[in-house]
Symmetry: C2
Subunit: 227 residues, 2 copies
DNA sequence: TTAGTATTTATATGTTTGTTTGAAACGGCA
DNA sequence: TGCCGTTTCAAACAAACATATAAATACTAA
């Protein structure tokens, strides 16, 4: 009997793959990721997921244990590598010494986001949108898991920004980081507030490179503006 | 029989109000507004609403016709005055002549948002949070209604910002406005991305005046940074 | 091939959803 | 008072929901 609460099995890919579909569990994750983004967690039923993934309804509970556990699995699958990528860039930047430039610091966050956005095999920009939905809906249990594992992420950036902007007080810096990450997240997620009001906006071209080109100067200007 | 599709009745307040509850319809709107913010549209059941509003389940369909119509009603009740407020400020600023300063332009948007955030009788910051949820969940029909009625809002600000920042091209300006409104909306909505990762952030103090104090310089710096 | 496990399937349970209904209660006006 | 339009009420509806279970199938190791 398939033990429910265990995490997704690491399974050898079949030797002979006649351009076949991925794992059942992976297929579920892929479809769930997209549907959670489109409809939100609570509005996405297991029936929608299993039908589109072309698996049996019970497969979700078999492989993941529950709908909640599926969500956590879908979420962590993308979050962990993204955070690792940012921290790796941060390590590299800090180790190469010299003055810590704000722009370079911003780019240590933006580059992994950009790479993710351009990689369809990792869901492209889907995860950033999922993140922004998760931010708005608040999954308490998920928040706990995240904050337990990744609080170092914010701490590292706080320290780094403090070094790069030593003239700012702690509170002022916290506000600016709050604003900066807010813009960046929403830019990658494609949350265009103005698009509610007008049908087609110039910005609607979703080319990630274009986002970055305009995003970096905006954020850096906000962060470095005189206190 | 209470005609469903008509909008909420404008009803004279009872002459003698012994500190009584508001209208049934208003009570429903107030509770729905809060619950839509907390749980999202689809995850908020009519039973949750009617129980907390202490009205009968059928009252929603009687007064508003459907759950969708209730949402539209809840949304428009706040949006219309907010937009009007912004446009009024914009009119005043433009009529007083002189060079159009970016900071003043930004404040024509921020002041009505701030006023709304500080007015509990209009739901305080609730609506901005509702707006940011609605942005992420996409109600197609609501989007249509909004864009039909309020596309002038974006057009007016586009023209004004073009005057205030004549050195910027149309595309560059669109991007910056996109970022600027994104920060402002999320700031008022209290969407703190970093709060996912760390339990208590310095920014967590939600004083609207504090938000504005730090928000304006950040946004203005981003908007006016050299091209 | 066979034994045993891993996975998939069909089916069932009990709950909750939005909406509808017909009757009861209310409130102003004759 | 008695009437009548407006509002509230309890009950019921089918549809969709998450989850559980046992049988059926696919697969692997011996």
């Amino acid at each position: 009997m398939g033990n429910a609460s265990q995490s997704v099995k690491t399974k050898k890919a079949p030797e002979i793959m006649e351009a076949s579909k991925p794992d059942t569990a992976t297929r579920i994750q892929d479809v769930a990721e997209r549907l959670f983004v489109e409809h939100g967690f609570e509005a996405t039923s297991l029936r929608m997921i299993t039908q589109q993934a072309e698996v049996n309804l019970a497969a979700v509970n078999y492989h993941f244990g529950s709908k909640d556990a599926l969500f956590e699995s879908v979420f962590m699958r993308r979050l962990a590598p993204l955070i690792s990528g940012c921290l790796a860039e941060l390590d590299e930047l800090e180790q190469q010494g010299g003055k810590l430039e704000v722009e370079e610091l911003v780019k240590t966050f933006i580059r992994p986001c950009l790479a993710l956005s351009k990689d369809p095999s990792r869901g492209g920009a889907l995860f950033v949108r999922l993140l922004s939905r998760t931010l708005v809906e608040n999954h308490r249990q998920l928040r706990e898991v995240i904050s337990q594992q990744y609080s170092v992420f914010v701490q590292r950036y706080s320290v780094a920004f403090h070094k790069a902007l030593p003239e700012l007080g702690a509170e002022e810096l916290a506000w600016r980081m709050h604003f900066a990450f807010s813009v960046m997240f929403n830019a990658f997620a494609g949350n265009d507030v103005l698009k509610i009001f007008v049908r087609s906006q110039v910005v609607s071209a979703r080319d990630p490179d274009m986002i970055v080109k305009h995003l970096v100067p905006f954020v850096v200007a906000g962060l470095t503006s005189p206190a």
